[in-house]
Amino acid sequence: MTARAVLPRVGLHLAAIVLALWVLVPIYFITLSAFSTQESVYQYPKQLLPRDLSTETMRFFLDSEGIVPSLQRSVIVAGLTLLIALGLGAPTGYALARFAFRGADSFRLAIVSTRAFPIVILSIPLAVTFLRWGIDDSVYGVAFAHAALALPFAVLVTSSVFSGISVELEEAAMTLGCSRASAVARVVMPLALPGLAAAAIFVFIISWNEVFAASILTLRNRTLPAQVLAVLNASPLPFRFAGGFFLLAPSLLVIFVIRKYLFNMWGRVVK
């Protein structure tokens, strides 16, 4: 290979390494600190290698008041958000992908435009409404708000997932004895699974990481990010690292678990 051919490759790899480090180094330090003794968290300069591993910091964090319940609430809220956003979003996405109905384009635009209203502006009227409905300060209120945030995304992503699956496959199933519903269940859904999984990851993470609406809509029953934020200023450094790790870990875990569905299914890349 000539220098001319090698140089761009080296540049590309360097850029990739820098980007990866940019993401990985903070994750590494957060994880390291979360699993160190409390003293070593305060140490400067930082150790680069895990020297004194301990669950002391994590235990301290988990034993702090309100953390375990808020963790449970976060899981429930993210799960509910996932159910609502995909339960409504996937059928909507399917309709947008398959049927040419009057106003389909304006509908698509309207879905996107809902994201134009910042959650800051939506939160106050939402809080008032939820107070009236009696679902303020509950997981349902937060899940509804999160579902509203995630729904446009769920609709658009699932719509493109379904458009990527040839209509002829569905029609073939229908000529072979399926109704439209069973053609969707037997042929479309298995093929859409990787894409739907991707949409599910993002919806889950949108909810898991969302802090603003959660903070406004809850007071005592906070989700984890809202809880951590609320007590952040008054907490010691080990608590912050452990909290950071707890917010980070599920997102990473979910991505790693569902990743294989994203790239490789039935021995080929699913478009």
Binding site: E168, L169, M174, T175, L176, G177, C178, L191, R268
Partner: protein, 383 residues
């Protein structure tokens, strides 16, 4: 097995009639090809029959039953799609078994039918593979096996060979034809490839702009096209169309065109003085190298050697004419030739390119009457 009937079927997309008042009857076990250029409505007509499109007017019958409003699964049809539409998440076996499983056949029946369909299409060795591991030709076989495994009454094929390369297409064409002869299934086959249509069909329905222009056997459609569209669409090269005037020469009817006169059949006498279009196949023209009586002078423009024959493009008066000659005849460009055309090999039509004249007009009437009679038979049988 079943007969199929379209009665005044119309399908409108937006403001365009994709299928415009089509009436066609297909006999039990018959192989009918819907042939036409892209956008002529042939695929739409097939999809209406499959139940994948709802017709806007008219009636569709399958096996004597009114199927106009039936969903696809209740029509007892099977379809092979242009893209094959083989399910990528199922092994070949499950693809072929899909229709049988939907019909809730017993496990033994499914195994037996999948086995026989697979052996007919020579895909026994791939049954455990996923479609992604197959070549295009093999996937095509899977699609056909899947369609025939259900033993549907009517087999629909939408350009099944168009995604194969030329050599494979020719191979599959013969194989598919012999397979369908064995199955004796009523088959409706859509293609834009006139060679496929001529070589496979019992009858060809030529479509243009949403309408059926002519329905007849491949030979009749080839030799006696009803208008210039059919003549121009079918055959390589397409039929020659030469403008001429009918006249009397020594009391015998002839066509005058630049370069000379061509004798016509006796019944052309009725059209003396009229402007006509003569339809002549390239292989119906004989070539003389010396001036001869009743032959038209022409100048050679291009010679294309094609192995089995040579294709000449010659100029006779204002008309460019394609002539097929034996492979050892290599006239020099710009040299003179004389064309002789047998009167009964000439098709004459209205000069506006429309319908056929004389005996040809009778063909037209015959074809329409036959269609009508079939339609009436079908409706009396029903009522």
């Amino acid at each position: 097995m079943a007969e199929v009937g379209f009665q005044n079927v119309t399908k409108i997309f937006g403001k365009v009639a994709a299928v415009d008042d089509v009436t066609l009857d297909v006999r039990d076990g018959e192989f009918v090809v819907l042939l036409g250029p892209s956008g002529c409505g042939k695929t739409t007509l097939l999809r209406c029959l499959a139940g994948l499109e709802r017709v806007d007017a008219g009636r569709i019958e399958i096996g004597g039953r009114d199927a106009t409003d039936l969903p696809p699964r209740k029509r007892r049809i099977a379809m092979v799609f242009q893209s094959y539409a083989v399910f990528p998440h199922m092994r070949v076996y499950d693809n072929v078994a899909f229709g049988l499983k939907m019909q809730k056949e017993s496990k033994a029946t499914i195994e037996e039918r999948v086995g026989s369909a697979a052996s007919l299409l020579h895909i026994e060795d791939f049954l455990d593979r996923y479609p992604a591991q197959l070549s295009g030709g093999q996937r095509q076989r899977v699609a056909v096996a899947r369609a025939i495994a259900t033993r549907a009454d009517v087999l629909l094929m939408d350009e099944p060979l168009s995604n194969l390369d030329a050599l494979l297409r020719m191979e599959m064409r013969a194989e598919l034809k012999s397979l369908l002869q064995k199955l004796e299934a009523t088959t409706i086959y859509v293609t834009h490839d006139q060679v496929e249509a001529l070589s496979m069909g019992d009858r060809i329905a030529v479509m243009n702009a949403g309408r059926i222009v002519q329905v007849d056997t491949p030979l009749a459609v080839y030799d006696r096209p009803l208008d210039t569209f059919v003549g121009g669409f079918i055959g390589t090269p397409p039929m020659n169309f030469v403008h001429a005037t009918v006249a009397l020469d020594d009391g015998r009817p002839v066509a005058r065109l630049g370069g000379g006169t061509v004798p016509l059949r006796e019944d052309a006498r009725a059209h003396v003085g009229r402007e006509v279009v003569l339809g002549i196949r390239a292989e119906s023209i004989e070539v003389e190298t010396q001036p001869a009586d009743g032959a038209v002078a022409a100048t050679v423009v291009v010679v294309e050697p094609l192995g089995s024959h040579n294709l000449l493009t010659v100029r006779a008066g204002d008309n460019l004419v394609k002539v097929s000659v034996r492979p050892d005849l290599f006239p020099a460009p710009e040299s003179e030739l004389w064309l002789r055309i047998a009167p009964d090999r000439i098709r004459w039509m209205d000069s506006d390119g429309g319908g056929a004249l004389g005996e040809e007009a009778e063909d037209l009437a015959r074809s329409r009457e036959a269609t009508l009679a079939l339609a009436q038979d079908a409706s009396t049988a029903l009522s």
